[in-house]
Symmetry: C2
Subunit: 496 residues, 2 copies
């Protein structure tokens, strides 16, 4: 494999390094130059030869392992598994390197070790750029600061200050504050979901729920099914726990339930993650019929469902069909919710609803992860839901989001009609736009960035979505939105 | 290995099941009945044969692997490695079970899967019992509710309500709120530690710091050195990430720095965790001379230090020697602090101080774990430190803790002088008591529990500490402390 040492990824290519490496290896395998069973050098050696961080190699290899092209083996390093058609690999996360004799170490040497993936380079850029001043964030999955209930929260602070309740400053119970869980059960009831406080675990946002589920309920190397595209592809909550993702195609009614039995069998999948209502990033709402069908299929084939209800309450035109969890009579559905998209992401309050056994196991892991969520956040969340602020806020919020959505649709109609297609969303934050011309998303991202516009490109949510953008009408001020939509149309036309 | 099927752990034995299984396997190996290289049945099969949960088997095996008696191999299951004298094993976390063909699954089936360990059964009991009414908690590592600054926090709420600052409701920056990090740098400065905001990561308590460090900086199967006994043995922050622990003996001046070079070499250790000031559970303060020596040794052998300063500010008689981090000129020390032991555990605010590269890597993992700590907690923590509440509170707190410590010392002198030995702590929460008679800690724990007293037994912190108790003077009301100390002396005498 000495020919390896000739090639290096191009630092100036907008394609991320790990994708260049991935493409390089795919080419070697597909061309037959690298044959099945052939052993690759260790990650460390590869990193050195390619002149990149080890984490970059890990990112590339992992995608190739998921694709069935490489195969890890703790004894003998990584091998070529096949050309990606075969799926039943045995993968191990070790790379078979024996520790050398007691090297001198400094903390900085550890930055590339650790089994947790770094964020995707593009996501790191976005995370950083979100805090750059004067950046217009046209894809951000967050409420604009002007839509956050600052004033009401301030009132809450003074109500708490003058109330006679004790301010909880101790560690909370493993499941979270009881008064909050009671209040959440009422809120869930309004969504058609029956739960008692012992079925609810308070978590620090939905993201932590995924973290706990992957650490607490899944074995390394198991595979979960999910919509393609999906929010989960843009983060590493599951992948860092060694869990693999396998996409289920979607249509206008949501994920294709008919594909599940085959995919489950083929990928030995252990669960289905779905975001059925105002799906991130497509905005699609799973239809009533599809929900019924999905519940049937999953029950028949014994595939547990992880339902993400993050955007559920953000309906703009009419209420969406009831959650899957509202239809669940046998404990087939684990439901995750959050205050992040409807009240405040900063509070970091989310919840998991499931059977007592599952909730207890997750609570145990949660105690070992951070000893529970902030008691002050839990207190604020309780008062927020309890005192009626929430209902009033939701009405105002829907009103504002409706205006924003309609504005963005008008702008699309006006400036983009000949360069893109899209569907009108009925709730949530997003418009999933497909560009009709052949335009490089990476170039567009960079040019938009130079023009002060931060984009969420489709490839974050599906490697194949190379002509899509996730636009969000929730974040940028309307004036900025107008400017940015025009500017962006220009940039796209330039590349055309 | 069919003889296995004869034996089962005794459900009525107070010794936890996993410890019984561990003892059983040790006996088999030590006696030579099971020889090196011999292959054990899979975890699933063992669980069935012993009539226990798979997590119990995992807990037992892992301790045996750490002890060098078993060896995991992803291809061929678990094997007998030796009699515990040899240390350089290659361990893998898989157990070589191939997925069977597409089984029907329900969420409840996953409760025993997942790579994260359950809490130790004893810790689970303690976690649960801490919320039982009328329980006297004589070992709890927390401030009594009466020592928490309820009144001042209430004032803070109204100050925030009437201030003109915006209430932060959005996601925070990856490193945490800048105003809080600035304030923490001032606080660190008072502790002799020089840091700028880019060296500080805000975390949800020190526990989360360990979680992030093990996921972000350490490879699976690496080993860390730590004091023996140690708080880290009672939790699974590192072990669940596949990291092994190797104890360093302590004396009255702290951990024995002279043992480090050999231990590092022998165990291929990657870092040293230490809690040098008011050590949990022994209360020991590492001496000035030992700190100097430790820094020298670690610098020489290239062993990075993870310093836990959780109790540092809780000096009762005189200020302790400066933190290791205050002596660090080369970035050898990563420092962890928390508000939990001095202000409020419920706030879930801690911090990590290190080089920018390390802090950035950890921040990236933090963003992927929970998108940052609660913005409301960060706001409260900032105001708390900034407004001078903290200094006033610390003075009162030390005053109260002094009274409590002296009371507990008097009670020991009065009721325990003939059944135990101990040292007077000069700060922190704990008195580490050694029972002089031959008394079973498990029985004592159960009997105390029946008498309404919750104990933290020594074995939680060191498997070998079978005659020690960690008493805490920080939690129980003084009247309860008096009753419980008398009652406990009685129970010990009964058994002795
Ligand atoms: C579908 C979906 N689920 C979950 C989350 C995570 O939200 P949080 O962790 O803030 O609750 C997001 C945020 O982007 C999301 O879009
Ligand atoms: C030595 C030590 N470090 C860290 C912690 C964790 O504290 P927290 O996660 O609440 O900050 C504790 C709590 O028991 C402790 O004793």
């Amino acid at each position: 494999m000495n020919q390896l040492s000739q090639w290096r990824p191009d630092m100036n290519d907008p394609l991320p390094l790990y994708q260049q490496i991935e493409a390089y290896i795919i080419a070697k395998i597909k061309s037959g130059e690298w044959t099945q069973g052939m052993k690759l050098p260790s990650q460390r050696v590869l990193a050195k030869q390619f002149g990149v961080n080890r984490s970059t190699i890990v990112a590339a290899m992992d995608r190739l392992v998921s694709a069935g092209m490489l195969e890890g083996n703790s004894g003998g390093g990584t091998r070529v598994a096949g050309d990606g058609e075969v799926d039943d690999l045995t993968l191990h996360d070790s790379e078979g390197i024996q520790p050398s004799s007691s090297p001198r170490k400094h903390w900085n040497d550890y930055v590339e070790e650790g089994m947790h993936y770094p964020n995707l380079p593009l996501v790191q850029t976005i995370n950083r750029m979100e805090f750059a001043p004067h950046m217009i964030r046209l894809g951000t999955g967050e409420l604009s600061p002007s839509l956050l209930p600052e004033q009401s929260m301030r009132h809450l602070f003074s109500e708490i200050a003058s109330s006679l309740d004790t301010v909880p400053l101790s560690y909370e119970e493993p499941l979270g504050s009881l008064q909050l869980r009671r209040e959440l059960c009422l809120e869930l009831g309004r969504r058609g979901i029956n739960a008692s406080p012992s079925n609810v675990l308070v978590v620090s946002g939905a993201l932590q729920a995924f973290q706990l589920i992957s650490a607490g309920l899944l074995e390394r190397q198991s595979t979960i099914l999910l919509e393609k595209p999906s929010y989960l592809y843009s983060i590493h909550a599951f992948q860092s726990a060694g869990v693999r993702l396998a996409g289920v195609p979607m249509d206008a009614e949501g994920l294709q339930a008919s594909a599940l039995a085959r995919l489950k069998q083929l990928r030995q999948a252990v669960l289905l993650y779905t975001n059925p209502t105002y799906h991130n990033p497509t905005g699609i709402v799973m239809s009533e019929a599809r929900r019924t069908r999905l519940m049937q299929v999953c029950d028949q084939i014994g595939l547990p469902i992880l339902e993400d209800g993050a955007y559920e309450e953000l309906w703009l035109d009419h209420r969406p069909p009831a959650a899957l969890k509202a239809r669940d009579t046998s404990g087939q559905v684990l439901y995750v919710g959050t205050l992040s998209k409807i009240v405040s992401p900063g509070l970091r309050i989310g919840w998991i609803v499931g059977s007592e056994r599952v909730i207890e196991r997750l609570a145990d892991i949660k105690m070992q992860t951070d000893y529970g969520s902030s008691s002050v956040s839990q207190l604020m969340a309780y008062h927020w839901l309890h005192s009626g602020y929430h209902q009033r806020h939701m009405e105002q919020l829907r009103e504002q989001l409706r205006i924003r959505r309609d504005t963005m649709l008008e702008l699309l109609q006006q400036d983009w009609h000949d360069i893109a297609t899209w569907q009108k969303p009925t709730g949530g934050f997003y418009i999933w736009v497909t560009l009709t011309g052949g335009c490089s998303l990476n170039k567009l991202f960079d040019r938009a960035l130079s023009a002060g516009i931060l984009l969420n490109v489709g490839t974050l949510y599906d490697r194949g979505a190379s002509r899509q953008l996730r636009l969000s009408y929730a974040y940028a001020p309307i004036e900025e939105m107008k400017f940015a939509m025009g500017k962006l149309a220009e940039l796209i036309r330039m590349q055309g």
